[in-house]
């Protein structure tokens, strides 16, 4: 077995086991910490694919910022007693529909990316370098890139608005 394959197997085992432990562990803080380990192993997968930039950005954004805020809120909420939150039927339906939509998006990504990825491998361009990545994002994928940034902006404004509204009602 080659080193890459061994590394891949170890990383996949860590990813899958920590992902399951995230769901099954009773303590919310332990869940969050398992999720952090899971994110690190996913960054390891990116490194195996030679995508250094993606790996580091993944660590900075997910492990370094988002999960810290998660841990932060969980610690402040003091979730000592575990109780099953009652979820209305419409929420469950919504969850199923959004899961199906995510699957649809993933399938289209896999189908559509195959020729493009082949193209990059055949031209031999170093697509782990930031320069090439930036050019691709701002030339070929300009519109989706801008849409993603608008989505983030809308999410940010929405959060600010929601927190302000709560304050006013008090």
């Amino acid at each position: 077995m080659s080193t890459v394959l061994i590394l891949f197997c170890v990383l996949s085992a860590i990813t899958l086991s920590t992902a399951f432990l995230t769901i099954f562990s009773k303590n919310p803080i332990h869940s969050a910490i398992y999720l952090v380990i899971c994110f690190f192993s996913i960054a390891g997968h990116y490194l195996l694919l030679n995508a250094q930039f993606l790996a580091i950005v993944h660590i900075i954004v997910y492990s370094g910022a988002i999960m810290i805020l998660f841990l932060f809120t969980i610690m402040l909420m003091n979730l000592n007693e575990q109780r099953e939150v009652y979820r209305p039927r419409i929420t469950r339906l919504g969850a199923i529909v959004s899961f199906c939509l995510i699957c649809l998006v993933l399938i289209t990504i896999f189908i559509n990316s195959k020729p493009i990825v082949g193209e990059y491998t055949s031209t031999g361009e170093d697509y782990q370098s930031i320069k090439v990545l930036g050019k691709i994002l701002l030339n070929e994928y300009m519109v989706p890139f801008e849409f993603a940034s608008i989505l983030l902006l809308v999410a940010m404004i929405g959060t600010v608005l929601l927190s302000k509204k709560e304050k006013l009602e008090k």
Partner: protein, 350 residues
Amino acid sequence: MDSTIIIEKSVIIVAVFALTMLMAMYSTWAERKVAAWLQDRVGPNRAGPFGLFQPLADGLKLFSKEEFEPNTPNRFLFFVGPAIAMSTALMTSAVIPWGDKLHLFGRDILLQATDLNIGLLYFFGVVSVGVYGIMIGGWASNNKFSLMGAVRAASQMVSYEVAMGLSMIALLMMTGTLSLREISAQQAGMNWNVFYQPLSFIIFLICAFAETNRTPFDLAECESELIGGYHTEYSSMKMGFYLFAEYANMFISSTILAVLFFGGYNYPGMSWVVENWGVNIANVLGFGALFIKLCGFIFFYMWVRWTIPRFRYDQLMHLGWRILIPLSIINIIITGIVILRADIAAYLGF
């Protein structure tokens, strides 16, 4: 060929590790000496000449102290906290260029553990992970003061990382690369980035203070309010690891400041030395230059610690979000306008 690279890199890694540890050890001594000097005292002077063996005595004391454990359901996490703090403090030094290269045994040896082309992002990644050591340790201590310290540290570090990243973007627009080796090489002569990006330097410096949890930003361990912050429940060498990690972080961030803004290993007249005395001497001197610069920054850290009192928490957040972030965005806009103007001038052929 392969084995020589492995040997070469291992030697460099061990040397950098030893240097970081030694500097962290002697920073504790220097801190007490600087404090004594600023407060008109003598400072440690019993162990060895000028108290130079004081760090060894402190280490021995910490090792031999009783290992106390609080009544916590998370014993494993309680152990993991200091380990994470220490390992992240040591990891950053991998991408720092300590000098250009040495020519030994007929081969060029780069004085750097690894030259990533995203070196700066690696630094940010490791720094952002460093918060976990404090958060997990503080939470697992099962003590409300520790938890408060941990939560403060986390919110402070996350807030100041934003300003730090934005201040870096202005610098990156100018250098056009994320590799610390190339950034150092671009500053040859006296082209130090601090002359071109003074605002970016000041913002980065303030954020570096906040990231290392040093005064005036040491709200995470603020004795008068929180007993000892996140390390209230720690004792013996676990406590020592937290303190050691702080000094190692201080050493690394001083080095990053010197590399990014103060020319790294460059010194005036380096090209003359290369021509006349050879590459090896030039780069040993270069390492010396970097070392002097970073010692200057470490002294600055200590000087500030014993001069400026601690901020209040709302002042800290106000400074981070309302002053530093808008300033760094303005800095990015100004840099963009200047670069665009230069590009247009070059295009039109002035």
